[in-house]
Amino acid sequence: MSFGLNISLNTNRNEFHRFWSSGKGAEANLSMPFYFGSVMGGVRIMPFRGKEAIPDFYSVLYSFCWGKEIRLGKSPSIFPYAKVGSFVMYFEEQDSEEDYQEIAESELAAGLGTTVWIPFRSDWRLQLSGGYLIVLSYKRIHLMFFSVGVTYTVKTPPWLKELLK
């Protein structure tokens, strides 16, 4: 199984970006083989700054991906996947001069993406990802992301294999 850490960027611009601009995000993920293909679970945090009087929020995407790793030649591999998750948005709304209240909204999100893994040391890989995500709010939010990071692969311990079976 592989642990990954990435820096993420939101790369597209649309109606949503009239109201918010995105900052750099961070992502952690864990991938492992599944009965068919591989699965990857992850958490991505990304800030969005509101324009004019719109409040800022930071998003936390808890996601689950399923895909199939395809080897390209001797070492690099590509992992196309389908993703589904919960896109949670934390807002801070000013109630009064002194008082802020945190408002959380969450919505189902789904998308597609591809990850390229390039090994550079025995258990380490460079991880490059690009993906498209649609957040299923009443007015849909369409986002594209690009991430770069590293992964570290370990052998799944026997007790964990037993638990997951």
């Binding site: 949503f16 109201f19 918010w20 009965y35 068919f36 969005f48 509101g50 719109i54 409040p55 929020f57 689950f64 589904v84 919960s86 896109f87 948005m89 807002f91 709304e93 909204e105 969450s106 919505e107 189902l108 789904a110 649609i134 957040v135 299923l136 709010s137 009443y138 007015k139 939010i141 037993e162 638990l163 997951l164 079976k165």
Partner: protein, 662 residues
């Protein structure tokens, strides 16, 4: 109409690989197994209805559900019987039944049997159908079970709530929790359980026409503790059950809210604090071979109370019910006989001035099972309900003929007389003085029916295992109703104050005929796949005005397609596609013009696609499930005033530790 990108590819994949998933049927009943319940993503007991083939459903907010079962009754008449482990439980909430008030959670279910035709089942005559929930018996040693469910419905405003694109929030789902602890040995066993259900009724369709409904009353909670004790005394096996389900605020829980009860004759929601207390005892004394005695006795108290500080009217309803049966079983090589004696007693505690708050009836019945020949089995019975208002006679005879080794023809013929008192509903008690409707602004003419309602019913069917992989079944039914009663309503709508019909009258002497046709296929190949597809059609032949109107609201067509893919032992994918046909609600015929099209008396047909992924861990002691419902994001609505249920998802996690330290 909103669309989802989701599942087209998944659908194609599943259809390529898929085969039928079957639910055992014997023509007259359908049994839903624990395996189906676990793999199909069911959260609450009402979700069981989605697996039933002969059933149509209606709901406004998604917590209380009305059903129409196999052409036996329309949504106006919720006379079906609910049983739990051999005990009848009264869940009558005026004009509806609340299955989610049963004190058990879905993970305790061993099976659910749906009786779809009139006959005698466990001491009850099922002229209006019966749904029997069976819980799994505690295993030897200690066992623990728990489950947590969270979910959400898509279509919230998200960040756009701060922009000109703001839209209303839609419903949250859950969280629901349950926990149970069992102990069993050779002589006795016990189960202690607790379940919580949270339900939000915040759909714009409900809030907009209830502008006075405060936020806290749109959130409902149901807490249900449950205790069951089984024990043997000599050769007898006995069970005691105690439970209490309540939506009231509990001192040890920082929760508040109400149970929003949609009262159809009122065409509005009324916040209530509903509670159901139940005590039951049952048992069987077995002797060597040919003779046995069975008994059951239960008490239930169902209360509808007014939440504090609400301007809504108080229903002021506390129905206490005693229900008892004693049976003698005899058998020989050819016959099995059951001779039964029963008693039903209702006592309505209310401040309204009733003619009499008490209602007592006695039952006598006989049931016979006789193997006419090696290939023909006959089941018949006679049932009498004796009440101060008269005697209702009910009878049935059914046959099963094994035409070939894998082919069965079956039939069920029934005649029943139903007394007004057997309905035990809002109309019956209104005729006896429960004047809630009259004292809340409605002219009500509670004319009691003067005749017994007559139902003549005929079911015919055939099922056959064509080979080891394919089973076919077809059936038809005829139901002829006479001397029935319905309420005539004609709702007018005005924004900012709820509106209702200025007059409601019960009209007796109604009748008509319903015909049904249905068919289905089970496919079980290859081993990893099972499929079941079924189609049902309900049609009317003639009928009086109100009879036709009542049945117009029941969708004529229904298709159910279920697929289970189990490639490896601890992982499965379940998919269900349900088509619900269009329906028309004449009582709401004025809505479209009066609401500028916002509400309509026509509820359009839709496809509901559900996808469930199940994974078990640690030798099935832990499990996780992801459920997506209404993947096509069709406007899933069941009632002209009802919520529109968008694409939604749930995550369930749970554990089951069985038979340790025993």
């Amino acid at each position: 109409m909103k669309r989802s990108v989701f599942p087209i590819v998944m659908a194609m994949l599943l259809l390529v690989f898929a085969r039928a998933s079957s639910s055992p049927r014997d023509g007259i009943s359908q049994t839903i197994t624990a395996e189906q319940i676990q793999s199909s993503g069911i959260i609450r007991l009402s979700d069981i209805f989605s697996l039933a083939e002969d059933l149509r459903v209606s709901t406004t907010a998604g917590f209380h559900w009305e059903i129409s079962l196999n052409g036996l009754f329309p949504f106006q008449k919720q006379n079906w019987i609910v049983m739990l482990d051999g005990q009848r439980i009264n869940l009558d909430l005026l004009s509806t039944k609340s299955i989610n008030m049963l004190p058990i959670s879905v993970d305790l279910l061993d099976s659910v049997k749906i009786i779809c035709a009139p006959q005698i089942h466990d001491g009850e005559f099922t002229e209006a159908g019966l749904i029997h929930f069976y819980t799994s018996p505690p295993k030897s040693g200690f066992s623990l079970r728990g489950r947590n469910t969270i979910g959400n419905e898509t279509g919230d405003p998200g960040p756009y709530m701060f922009t000109p694109y703001r839209s209303p929030n839609v419903d949250r789902l859950g969280p629901d929790y349950s926990f149970s602890m069992d102990y069993g040995n050779t002589r006795w066993n016990t189960r202690l359980g607790l379940s919580f259900q949270n339900h939000y009724s915040t759909d714009p369709a409900i809030l907009k026409r209830n502008p006075g409904l405060e936020g806290q009353y749109t959130r409902g909670q149901m807490v249900s503790p449950y205790l069951k004790l089984g024990f043997k005394v000599g050769s007898s096996e006995n069970e005691i059950t105690l439970s209490h389900s309540t939506s009231k605020r509990l001192p040890f829980l920082e929760r508040f809210g109400s149970d929003l009860l949609f009262l159809e004759p009122f065409a509005r929601e009324i916040p209530t604090h509903s509670s159901l207390s139940f005590v039951g005892i049952s048992g069987q004394l077995k002797s060597a071979g040919r003779f046995g005695i069975g008994y059951r006795s239960s008490f239930s108290a169902l209360m509808l109370d007014k939440p504090d500080q609400t301007a809504y009217p108080a229903l002021d309803w506390e129905m206490r019910t005693w229900n008892s049966r004693v049976e003698i079983h005899t058998r020989n090589s050819a016959f099995q006989n059951i001779w039964g004696l029963g008693l039903n007693y209702h006592d309505l505690n209310t401040q309204y001035d009733l003619k009499s708050p008490h209602d007592l009836s006695g039952q006598l019945y006989w049931q016979n099972r006789f193997r006419i020949s090696p290939k023909v089995l006959q089941n018949s019975g006679l049932w009498m309900n004796i009440h101060g208002d008269g005697v209702g006679i009910k009878t049935f005879v059914s046959h099963q003929w094994q035409v070939k080794s894998r082919s069965v023809l079956w039939s069920n013929l029934s005649y029943s007389q139903r007394l007004f008192s057997e309905d035990n509903n809002l109309w019956y008690w209104s005729s006896r003085g429960y004047d809630f409707i009259g004292q809340n602004g409605v002219k009500f003419f509670p004319a009691a029916p003067t005749h017994k309602r007559i139902l003549f019913s005929l079911d015919l069917g055939w099922y056959s295992d064509l080979n080891q992989w394919i089973t076919l079944d077809v059936a038809a039914a005829l139901r002829s109703f006479r001397h029935d009663y319905f309420d005539g309503e004609d709702f007018q709508f005005t924004y900012y104050r709820y509106s209702l019909s200025p007059e409601i009258s019960l009209e007796a002497g109604q009748g008509g005929t319903i015909v049904l046709g249905k068919g289905g296929i089970y496919l079980r190949w290859p081993e990893v796949l099972s499929q079941r597809v079924s189609y049902t059609y309900i049609g009317r032949i003639g009928g009086s005005r109100l009879f036709r109107q009542a049945w117009e609201s029941v969708p004529a067509q229904g298709i159910l397609y279920q697929i289970t893919f189990t490639p490896v032992e601890n992982f499965s994918i379940f998919s269900l596609i349900h088509y619900r046909g269009k329906s028309y609600w004449p009582a709401y015929r004025n809505l479209e013009a009066q609401t500028n099209g916002e509400y309509s008396p026509t509820v359009n047909g839709f496809f509901d696609w559900r996808l469930v992924m199940n994974k078990w861990f640690w030798k099935r002691r832990l499990w996780a499930r992801v459920v997506f419902r209404n993947i096509f994001n069709q406007p899933e609505r069941y009632h002209p005033f009802g919520a529109v249920m968008n694409l939604r998802w749930h995550i369930h996690i749970g554990f089951s530790l069985e038979s340790f330290a025993g």
